[in-house]
């Protein structure tokens, strides 16, 4: 019994202490001129799909639920978002060269078509981020036309 008590205290203390470790929150006040939605004329359905299903990890602005600001969840998310933005950041779309844009569009289409994105660890909590079949088709169609226009 005593052991259980000790363990619980230690856990609680560690949990409390790590809350003070700083994390860079991925949030910004303004939408940059290089944002995908500003650079391109995006149809409303595609706009919504990308915002709801992709922007949390692939832009400079994540909308965090409160529990995502708790440690160690926040650390885990920070890493995820860093990786996500490294591969694709919709906020800096305008800064990508045409070659890079085409390359990113290819990957976007492949990932969405195969259902690998948005990843399961995200959709398991954000149920509304699951992309419906018709929305998928709309995104693919839009991305195809965007790629051809480059």
């Amino acid at each position: 019994m005593k052991l259980v008590k000790i363990i619980s205290w230690i856990t609680l203390i560690i949990f409390a202490v790590i809350q003070f470790f700083p994390v860079n929150y991925n949030q910004s006040e303004t939408i940059p001129q290089t944002d995908f939605m500003i650079v391109n004329k995006v149809p409303a359905t595609v706009y919504k799909t990308l915002h709801v299903s992709c922007y949390d990890c692939h832009s400079n602005n994540t909308s965090y639920p409160w529990y995502n600001k708790l440690q160690p969840v926040a650390w885990y998310l920070e890493k995820h978002i860093d990786n996500g933005k490294k591969d694709l950041n919709f906020s800096v779309w305008g800064d990508y060269s045409d070659r890079r844009k085409k390359s990113k569009i290819n990957s976007i289409m492949n990932q969405i078509e195969s259902g690998e994105m948005p990843i399961y660890s995200y959709t398991v909590i954000h149920r509304n981020a699951i992309i419906s079949k018709s929305d998928k088709e709309a995104v693919i169609k839009y991305m195809t036309s965007l790629k051809d226009s480059l």
Partner: protein, 198 residues
């Protein structure tokens, strides 16, 4: 004593939890050596860009050689080998220096190399279907790179019209014979020779 051990276990658990990520697989796998052979010295003129230094030339050759090796691994359906070669190719791409080129070529080369590096890195930790998706775009990059840098090796551009829902996919090869990297054993001979380079 026991308490100390418990604490350290807890701390370790938390640390490992917080450093978890979906892709930590960038294995350091540097077996590149950076010696540059002098065999190329006499053949400098063969290159499109006369301003190239000899060192730069061999970096380009290395990129091309690594790319071709990767192509062969994919044609052999060898996922593990393709991973290693993706990492190797990414490293050789990173040592590419475009400073000897004209400013237009330089801008394009930097762009190409950046894009190609990303695809090579992805090939370094993906399953084979993904590797092939990335290989398609990587091939375009390498073909565009060769168009600027030229090559002393004789290479062939091959094309498979079936790949990627009939959007097609190209690749470079040292041999005229088709060995399809997009399908491997499933359709090894599918494809055609588009052109000869050099």
């Amino acid at each position: 004593m026991r308490k100390v051990r418990l604490t350290s276990i807890m701390v370790m658990a938390l640390i490992s939890l917080s450093t978890m990520s979906c892709k930590d697989t960038n294995k350091e796998n540097n077996n590149d050596n950076h010696e540059h052979s002098e065999i190329n010295q006499d053949k400098m003129d063969a290159s499109n860009s006369a301003m190239n230094s000899n060192i730069q030339n061999s970096v380009e050759q290395k990129v091309l050689t690594n790319y071709i090796a990767l192509k062969d691994a994919l044609a052999n359906d060898d996922n593990a080998n393709a991973k290693e070669l993706g990492v190797t190719l990414a490293q050789s791409l990173k040592s590419f220096d475009s400073s000897g080129f004209s400013s237009n070529e330089k801008l394009e080369l930097i762009d190409i190399i950046e894009d190609a590096t990303e695809h090579a890195e992805h090939i370094g930790y993906s399953d084979i279907a993904h590797q092939r998706e990335h290989f398609k775009i990587l091939s375009k990059d390498i073909i565009d790179m060769v168009a600027i840098t030229g090559t002393k090796m004789k290479v062939y551009e091959h094309y498979c019209p079936m790949y990627d829902n009939k959007n097609g996919g190209a690749w470079l090869s040292m041999n005229e014979e088709i060995r399809n990297p997009y399908y491997g054993n499933k359709m090894l001979k599918c494809g055609e020779v588009k052109r000869e380079i050099n």
